[in-house]
């Protein structure tokens, strides 16, 4: 039987893939979104900032900030889960820049007001084909079971769009 890889090698590879997907996107940096990883499970984290507020009277998170957070969480989960197997098998990242899926449509369901505190989101790829994927994402703040927003989006897989 093959000896298991040293844990540092495994972690470096997986963190490397995550960083390659996330670090180059200016909008993710602008929003301050980061990702917690447990094995292959990703949780998107939106640390609270005053400039994420929409209605300052309540105050509540801006619906657009919530939408952007959900879309990022869904898109990164889709790219991550698509690349995971290959990267684990090869032991290295694919050559060249990584392309993210393109959003075709995205629907956000606002269940309750986003409170002025950190938000979390996890996405699930319900269907991933050669060209199209459907991803569902759920977001919560204090209680995992009390979602404040959820979303569903369809995505075009990288390299499947325009004929080259």
């Amino acid at each position: 039987m093959k000896r298991p890889e040293p844990v540092a090698v495994v972690k470096q590879r997986r963190e490397g893939l995550l960083r390659a997907l996330v670090d180059e996107v200016p909008y993710i940096r602008f929003m301050g979104i980061r990702f917690d990883r447990r094995g292959d499970e990703l949780t998107a984290v939106l640390p609270y900032r005053d400039d994420l507020i929409g209605n300052p009277v309540l105050p509540a998170l801006h619906g657009g900030a919530t939408a952007g957070f959900l879309e990022i969480a869904a898109m990164i989960e889709l790219a991550w889960s698509t690349l995971w197997e290959g990267v684990e098998a090869e032991g290295a990242l694919p050559q060249g820049p990584l392309r993210l899926p393109k959003t075709i449509d995205f629907t956000v369901d606002y269940l309750r007001a986003g409170l002025p505190r950190d938000a979390y989101a996890r996405a699930r790829v319900n269907r991933s084909g050669r060209r199209y994927a459907s991803v569902h994402v759920e977001a919560w703040q204090d209680n995992r079971a009390r979602l404040f927003a959820q979303g569903t989006g369809h995505f075009l897989m990288p390299g499947s769009g325009t004929a080259k």
Binding site: E24, V25, L52, G64, G68, I72, P97, L100, F106
Partner: protein, 145 residues
């Protein structure tokens, strides 16, 4: 009633400028009418979603659509003074051309006692080919309740 209209516009403008996230994204109110709002978001490299092409991320376009839609609801004569998004669906038809301002025109086309329905279109300099379209449902808040 031009005097009333300009008062409404001043209030709306102040309200929009006071939304922290809209301000962070550089949004500007272009115009409002009865149940209609036009908002602009100038190109900003910080909002790019695809570093290889420089195209603005859909999330920022969503925020623009949401703000324009909410504003359209608030300036509808039957919809009242405040609103919250119930749901918003966005279709992304093409990438916005890098460097160009994105404009969203939202129209609150139907209002019931409890719900306002909105559709919105986002364009860049080429107004004949929409960048994105949105449909949404918003809450109707009334002072008397």
């Amino acid at each position: 009633m031009p005097a009333l209209m300009s008062d409404t516009e001043t209030i709306a403008r102040q309200f929009i400028q006071a939304l922290p996230h809209s301000r962070a994204l550089g949004m500007e109110l272009v115009s409002i009418g009865e149940g209609v709002a036009v908002m602009a978001m100038p190109y900003n490299p910080e909002l790019v979603g695809d570093p290889q092409t420089g195209v603005i991320h859909g999330g920022a376009v969503s925020a623009l659509m949401d703000t324009a839609s909410g504003t359209a609801v608030m300036c509808h004569p039957q919809a009242g003074f405040s609103t919250a998004t119930l749901d918003l669906r966005i279709d992304y038809m093409r990438p916005a051309t890098p460097g160009q301002t994105i404009r969203a025109r939202a129209e609150c086309h139907h209002v019931t006692r409890t719900v306002a329905f909105v559709r919105a279109v986002a364009t860049d300099d080429d107004e004949s080919r929409p960048v994105a379209m949105a449909t949404g449902a918003f809450t109707v808040e009334r002072a008397e309740r």
